[in-house]
């Protein structure tokens, strides 16, 4: 027996729909839900289980600050939807608008935090940059190396394990066909739409096709002549035993050194969830990635740098998953530049969780109306077209 969880194929009732979604992560599940809200018929095909790879294993940040400014329009739209939970999907994702604190160790970084806070795109975030006495009074537990920080009062966190499955259940209740254990092998454009061939589960047809296959998204886009330089990585997460609930703000370190990038949040049950410092390289054949001991060492060290008093607590569990990264740290999102009726939403670079509901909403708007009111041009797949070699980041 493989240690991989076995997934039973879901019984198939329908082979054709307005939209086929390939990939049952947060983006796919939320898209299925919002497409049904707009009245389109939907079949979602997931190879393993809904939310199994990037969506279910990430840190759970519902964070807008620190994103590239070009992403904040989308993040704001998503944040508005987070406020409508749990009513929207009749399920609780444990969303807590706890505030988010981005701290730094270098005095010169305070100016960078201030510049970010002052950008017009960041206005809705209501950021407060703190240093010196104001910082110590507000966050007395921060260690002496922390010199400043940017506080986002409306950011927060939620439970990633629950998110994609909850959206998928809501989509299913609304009439979407959500099929697990269906492995897509080939996608192609036919005269009138798309044909999706699966391994042993037959073929499916639709007028429009949405690829939300995360770390496998590039394999499908390549079949349509649009390869992207996608790199899979395994986030590294650990969690402590339950402690009195004191750290009510999510904290993350702002630094250019990967090993210093620790972030953590405490849930009301008491456990502190810790992420960052390192990313592992997944085995894409077995679809497994381990939590590397090196990551835990770094997390332990960096945690104590931010909060030195965390002396005698225990880490009780760790995990990883498979995320997809692009060289400019922006996702691939929007219409294909090659094929009519084909859309993408993958490659969220370890920062997709907060965007999930917004991406679903925007993709549903795009597929049902052909356009969207949200700025997503920076994420267009054409930026990786062969002739276009620039890899600059639009900030």
């Amino acid at each position: 027996m493989s240690i991989m969880a076995t997934t039973q194929p879901t019984p198939i009732s329908r082979r054709e729909a307005d939209v086929i979604i390939v990939g049952g992560g947060f983006m796919g599940a939320a898209s299925a839900f919002f497409l049904r809200q707009r009245g389109l018929s939907v079949i979602l095909l997931e190879r393993d289980m809904i939310g199994q790879y990037a969506s279910g294993v990430n840190f759970g940040n519902v964070r807008r600050q620190g994103r590239y400014l070009c992403q904040l329009d989308l993040a704001n739209r998503s944040r508005a939807l987070w406020s409508q939970l749990p009513e929207l999907i009749d399920d609780d994702l444990e969303f807590l608008p706890s505030g988010h604190m981005r701290v730094c160790y270098q005095p010169e970084q305070i100016a960078e935090l201030e510049a970010y806070a002052a950008a017009p795109e960041a206005r809705e975030l209501a950021l407060q940059v703190l240093s010196g006495k104001a910082l110590r009074e507000r966050f007395p537990y921060l260690g002496p190396e922390v010199v400043g920080g940017s506080y986002a009062p409306h950011d927060g966190h939620a439970n990633p394990r629950l998110a994609a499955p909850a959206f998928a259940r809501a989509a299913r209740r609304a009439g979407a066909d959500i099929l697990e254990g269906v492995d897509v092998s080939q996608v192609e454009k036919t005269g009138s739409g798309f044909r999706v061939q699966t391994e042993g589960q037959g073929e499916f047809r639709s007028a429009q096709l949405l690829i939300t296959a995360g770390a496998w998204g590039d394999r499908l886009s390549t079949q349509f002549g649009e390869p992207v330089p996608l790199v899979p990585r395994g986030p590294q997460m650990s969690v402590t035993e339950p402690l009195p609930y004191r750290l009510k703000t999510v904290i993350g370190v702002y630094t250019k050194r990967e090993e210093e990038v620790v972030y953590f949040r405490q849930i009301p049950r008491g456990n502190i969830i810790i992420g960052g410092c390192h990313r592992a390289i997944p085995d894409m054949v077995s679809r497994r990635v381990s939590f590397e001991p090196q990551a835990m060492k770094l997390q332990m060290q960096q945690m104590r740098r931010v909060i030195p008093q965390l002396g005698n607590i225990n880490i009780i569990r760790s995990w990883s998953g498979i995320e997809s990264y692009l060289p400019d740290s922006l996702p691939v999102m929007g219409p294909s530049s090659q094929v009519d009726g084909l859309y993408y939403a993958f490659g969220f670079c370890g920062a997709g969780f907060q965007l999930g509901p917004g991406v679903g909403d925007v993709m549903a708007e795009l597929l049902s109306t052909g356009q969207t009111s949200t700025h997503i041009d920076s994420f267009h797949i054409r930026r990786f077209a062969a002739a276009d070699q620039h890899k600059s980041v639009a900030v």
């Binding site: 240690i3 259940r169 104590r304 607590i313 225990n314 009780i316």
Partner: protein
């Protein structure tokens, strides 16, 4: 000359015999053990300064305990031995551990897992009250700390250990209020042909039973546990159970020892990527092993109760066989070793048959998991009840253990599912109508046990000592 770094985890009967065999063939393994002294759980050695003799401590097994301890003492100069060392992770050819608050890393070429077993427990309503112990825990309290878990103790569950520990308590002067066995006595009779493969052991078991009866201990077979009664302030006060005829009884006590045979400790093998297979008889996931103890991962071997629950005598032989497998893999096989292998395998066949007989005589009462009341706590770390798990299975449409863990938190706490995951799986299977095998197995995750966050503190440098378990081939 090429060297091979050999790491053995666990200094119980399997680990010690494994080490002994390797040393005898000119190798110098590194042996790491979580306990302060060798012997494992069954032949646990007393702390320094304790003076009880072997006969008192180990009863009929005194000679075996002494032989194993003596072997270890002779071996010790030829081993790199790390007691009190807790392993927390494994990655590639490197094992991560800590000893006395200091991180240790071991590089290895060959890994022999002799990690033993822990109690298999079935929850019962109220078992979270103070005074409820696992059966093995109750035994360790007696053996290691020379204390009883209570003044009036009820032993509940099933398996030979139930009677053994009850009689050990009796000998130690504790009052045994009752022994409540979920298996019907008739099961023992139908398993008798297999049990008679070791007639003297079976006879000793019968004597234990007779001894308990002679001391007026109340014995009940074929019972169903209903509730541990008591209060949060005063702990356990009584046990309520259904007798075989359906009538309900209560027995007063101030402590409960609960256990249903054992379950293998397989987290390290899991982290090493070893494959598992479902065992219908015990309803457990066991390591896939060849006849000598090779796992599915090259150069990783398993022996003892961590591999197959067959008891200490089998563990000694399985440890030796795993060492023989390793010697073969190093091209150090000899005709003598081949002959020894044949003999060990013959002996193990008998011991396996006996172990099978025990499993049949004292079966895991799977149906009780399906009957647990909704308010029975299943996961004591996270305090999740059977009802919450059932509701998760139904409302969220999941019948897979890792999914159900993600949604319900069963198995997500300090014990990492070591005590609750197998029962959780039974509850999920019953609630979903799926076969237990289909609901799957909870995946292991590091750290193997809770890991102090200060272990790798920068201010406490130097960094981990890296230990290379080396040996020179002559």
């Amino acid at each position: 000359m090429a060297s091979s770094r050999i790491l053995i985890v666990g200094a119980g009967p399997a680990g010690v015999r494994c080490a002994e065999t390797l040393v005898r063939h000119g190798l110098r393994p590194t042996l790491i053990d979580e306990n302060r002294r060798d012997g494992g759980q069954i032949y646990r050695r007393q702390p320094d300064g304790f003076q009880r003799d072997y006969r008192t401590l180990y009863g009929s097994e005194a000679d075996k305990a002494k032989a194993l301890h003596d072997s270890f003492d002779r071996l010790r100069p030829q081993l790199d031995y790390y007691p009190d060392t807790s392993v927390w992770n494994l990655s590639g050819q490197r094992l991560y551990a800590h000893q006395h608050g200091r991180p240790l890393e071991f590089e290895f070429d060959h890994l022999l897992l002799c990690t033993g077993a822990t109690d298999r427990v079935m929850p019962v309503q109220g078992w979270q009250l103070a005074g409820t112990f696992s059966l093995g825990g109750a035994q360790i309290a007696l053996k290691h700390q020379a204390v009883a878990i209570g003044r009036e103790v009820v032993f509940m569950g099933s398996g030979p250990l139930l009677y053994l520990v009850a009689s050990q308590y009796l000998k130690a002067g504790a009052s045994v209020a009752a022994v409540l066995d979920t298996s019907a006595f008739s099961k023992r009779l139908s398993a008798l042909p297999k049990l008679l493969s070791r007639a003297p052991v079976t006879a000793r078991g019968s004597l234990l039973l007779a001894d308990l009866l002679r001391h007026g201990v109340s014995l009940h077979f074929g019972i169903r546990p209903l509730e541990v009664l008591g209060s949060a302030e005063h702990g356990v006060s009584a046990i309520r159970f259904a007798r075989a005829d359906g009538s309900i009884s209560e027995i007063c006590c101030d402590a409960l020892a609960l256990g249903y045979h054992l379950r293998p400790e397989t987290q390290l093998a899991d982290l090493a990527g070893c494959a598992f297979q479902f065992d219908e008889l015990s309803r457990q996931w066991l390591l896939q092993l060849d006849e000598l103890g090779r796992t599915s991962v090259p150069q990783v071997y398993a022996a003892g109760d961590g591999a197959r629950i067959r008891g200490a005598d089998a563990a000694e032989r399985a440890g030796e066989l795993a060492a023989i497998a390793l010697l073969q893999d190093l091209n150090r096989g000899t005709p003598e070793l081949a002959a020894r292998q044949q003999q060990l395998q013959r002996e193990l066949a008998v011991l396996s048959r006996f172990a099978e007989g025990l499993s049949e005589a004292f079966p895991w009462p799977a149906r009780h998991a399906a009957q647990l009341s909704d308010d029975t706590i299943i996961c004591r770390c996270e305090m999740i009840s059977a009802g919450e798990l059932r509701r998760t299975v139904q409302a969220k449409g999941t019948a897979e253990v890792n999914r159900a863990k993600a949604f319900s938190r069963v198995g997500m706490g300090r014990c990492q599912g070591r005590y609750c995951a197998h029962v959780g799986a039974e509850v999920i299977a019953a609630a979903s109508g799926e076969a237990l095998q289909k609901v799957g197995r909870q995946r292991g995750q590091a750290p193997v046990k809770p890991l102090p966050i200060s272990l790798y503190a920068i201010d406490d440098e130097p960094a981990a000592d890296t230990v290379c378990a080396t040996e020179e081939l002559s």
